[in-house]
């Protein structure tokens, strides 16, 4: 148990705050060659390996499973299922007798509702871990590390958010967790932009000073590879983009363009960190919304990468 605080997901949690988390942990133990969970199983538990070793396999229909990695003591598996339960994307099987600790999403949710400072720190750690995993996605490798592009390309004026959209904010995916008065608090930090179709918002490699939430319209995220644009995703109302640079202070890893005319809400870096570093109700929901956004981005990027690889393969065999 003493070694738990060494794990990245628990980093920065004081001994006193760990005391509220430890009773929620369940011990688990599996024999050699036993499956911890299968690809496609409902995933709602995080596992921490204390001793032993497991292998992670990707499911490939019609063929043998593909070994992705083998991990051992100190590894954390299924951290995304803590706040966004979904079907497991891989099969995990022990290669040695393995034991450790698990934390269910229900137990974690209870900690959040009790406003446990330990849970708040887990949400922050998770955001940083997800941010790193997104940056490491093959889709983004080869991104410009620096460009001469400005942080924001649109030459126009921002204005105070339009109140006619107040009734719709809670319908937007980013705000679904918030109460109306909490949305008002967040909105007080935001500026609104009206962007014409086709406008580049920021470029790959540019410095990142703000995150943006789409109120109406569509934004295309893309990268240039071998001189050719590759579309990565189309984001619609309620989606937030530009988050990573605020979390890790690195430059943008993709180019964002208004694919349709857009109404955007801008959250400047300072406002973001004010909310990120608070410890009240709004901070919990804000961090959960940020983590959910990153998890969705990661799942979307994984699917996009798989699609791109297969489509490239299909087209090259024509």
């Amino acid at each position: 148990m003493a070694s738990l605080s060494q794990l990245r997901i628990f980093a920065g949690i004081s001994n006193a705050d760990m005391q509220s988390i430890i009773p929620k942990l369940q011990s688990f133990s599996i024999a050699k060659d036993e499956v911890l969970f299968y690809h496609g199983d409902k995933g709602s538990t995080l596992y921490i390996i204390e001793t032993g070793e497991v292998s992670v396999y990707a499911n490939a229909s019609g063929d043998e499973d593909i070994l992705l990695s083998t991990i051992g003591s100190g590894a954390v598996i299924g951290e995304m299922s803590l706040i966004a339960p979904a079907n497991r994307s891989a099969t995990v099987k022990s290669t040695l007798p393995t034991s450790g600790w698990s934390l269910s999403c229900d137990a974690f949710d209870l900690l959040c509702r009790q406003q446990s400072l330990g849970a708040l720190q887990i949400l922050k750690n998770l955001a940083l871990m997800l941010c790193e995993r997104l940056r490491a996605m093959p889709l983004y490798t080869g991104s410009a590390t620096q460009s001469t592009q400005p942080a924001w390309c649109f030459q126009g004026e921002a204005y105070t958010p339009d109140s006619q959209y107040n009734d719709f904010l809670q319908r937007l995916s980013f705000f679904k967790l918030f109460q109306p008065d909490e949305i008002t608090t967040i909105m007080s930090h935001m500026k609104q932009w009206s962007i014409p179709r086709g406008q580049i918002l920021f470029a790959d490699g540019a410095p990142g000073k703000s995150a943006y939430l789409i109120l109406r319209g569509g934004v295309e995220e893309s990268v240039i590879r071998n001189g050719k644009k590759q579309q990565l995703s189309i984001l619609g109302p309620g989606k937030i983009f530009g988050l990573l640079s605020l979390l890790d202070h690195e430059n943008r890893y993709s180019t964002c363009t208004a694919r349709e005319r857009c109404l955007l809400l801008e959250m400047p870096e300072q406002a973001f960190h004010t909310l990120f570093n608070k410890a009240d109700n709004v901070a919990f929901r804000f961090l959960q919304a940020i983590d959910l956004t990153l998890i969705e981005a990661l799942r979307r990027a994984s699917q996009k990468y798989r699609t791109q690889v297969i489509i490239t393969d299909l087209l090259s065999h024509q």
């Binding site: 319908r171 569509g218 109302p237 349709e260 699609t307 299909l314 024509q318």
Partner: protein, 307 residues
């Protein structure tokens, strides 16, 4: 609204693609996984079979009967095979303002025309567009319009952009006509001040190829007067495909057989037709995909629509 399925590949029993998979098109009438609305306003299909009498002429079927109760359809599906087909179940708003009539059923195919078209989408404020769209109709096409759907007008405008609407056309000719049609619709929308989100996923075929489009005008511009529709327009309308050597039942599950680069059999659908979607891929947004034959081999191509 609406669900569509297209297939091109080795001959396959219709039952194997319409009924048997766990999330089959027929099941999607009452239990779609990626749509909030039921699809109860009729079924239609255009089916080519290379071994049938006059193989260039498709078999067409349209019925307002709920497809899961339709014994004729089930019986036919168990007897007929296809190598190219487009099947459609129609979804409309569940209220008395919707027009549920046979002439509104997809896929549309006018007399003496070789092209068929089905649609999964909704052109907002379409009633305002008709007058201006009429200017783009070929005199030989307009007399055939019988229904009141946006889809039939998209079909009529598309045919009218071809030099000879009743001829047999190459894929390249239809691709060009399609891009002209989508541009005309954008211009007519702008002229009439229509700026709300309008998805147009199209499925077009003449038996030689299948051309599909995943496209939305003014994506993300949900109607602020209609909170229900907000949910529809906040996400890009789905379109999925899967490729392989043949579509078969393996270990109790319907799946594409063969390696991932094989394109001998292609299924394209509004949503995966099996609960296990691990072999399905989402088609990129704002793109058109073509499935066609060249030198005796089936190919696919993909192009972005910058309209």
């Amino acid at each position: 609204m609406c669900r569509v399925l297209a297939y091109m590949g080795p001959r396959i029993l219709l039952d194997d693609i319409l009924y048997q998979p766990s999330n089959s098109l027929i099941n999607q009438a009452f239990d779609p996984k990626l749509s909030l609305l039921l699809n109860l306003a009729g079924f239609g299909m255009t089916v080519w079979d290379e071994r049938s009498h006059k193989p260039g002429l498709p078999h067409t079927y349209h019925s307002l009967e709920l497809p899961f109760f339709d014994r004729n359809l089930k019986n036919m599906a168990e007897k007929l095979s296809t190598n190219v087909c487009i099947a459609h179940i129609r979804g409309v708003m569940l209220n008395s303002r919707s027009t549920v009539i046979k002439t509104n059923l997809h896929p549309f195919m006018y007399p003496n025309c070789s092209l068929t078209l089905a649609h999964n989408g909704d052109l907002k404020s379409f009633g305002k567009m008709r007058f201006d769209l009429a200017k783009y109709l070929h005199p030989s096409v307009s007399p055939h319009i019988q229904g009141n759907t946006d889809t039939e007008w998209i079909y009529a405008v598309l045919l009218s952009q071809l030099e000879n609407p009743t001829g047999h056309h190459t894929l390249e000719e239809v691709q060009l006509a399609l891009e002209k049609t989508l541009t005309i619709i954008r211009e007519v929308r702008e002229k009439n001040g229509i700026f709300l989100s309008s998805p147009v996923n199209l499925f077009i075929s003449n038996g030689d190829f299948i051309l599909v489009v995943r496209f939305v005008y003014d994506f993300g511009w949900y109607d602020t007067d209609d909170p229900i529709m907000h949910e529809f327009h906040a996400v890009y309308k789905s379109l999925w495909f899967t490729t392989g050597s043949s579509y078969e039942k393996k270990d109790g599950k319907w799946v594409m057989i063969g390696n991932q680069t094989a394109t001998d059999a292609v299924l394209i659908s509004s949503e995966p037709i099996t609960d296990d979607d691990s072999t399905w891929l989402p088609m990129p947004e704002y793109h058109a995909m073509a499935v066609y034959k060249r030198d005796g081999k089936q190919h696919i191509s993909l192009r972005e629509l910058n309209l």
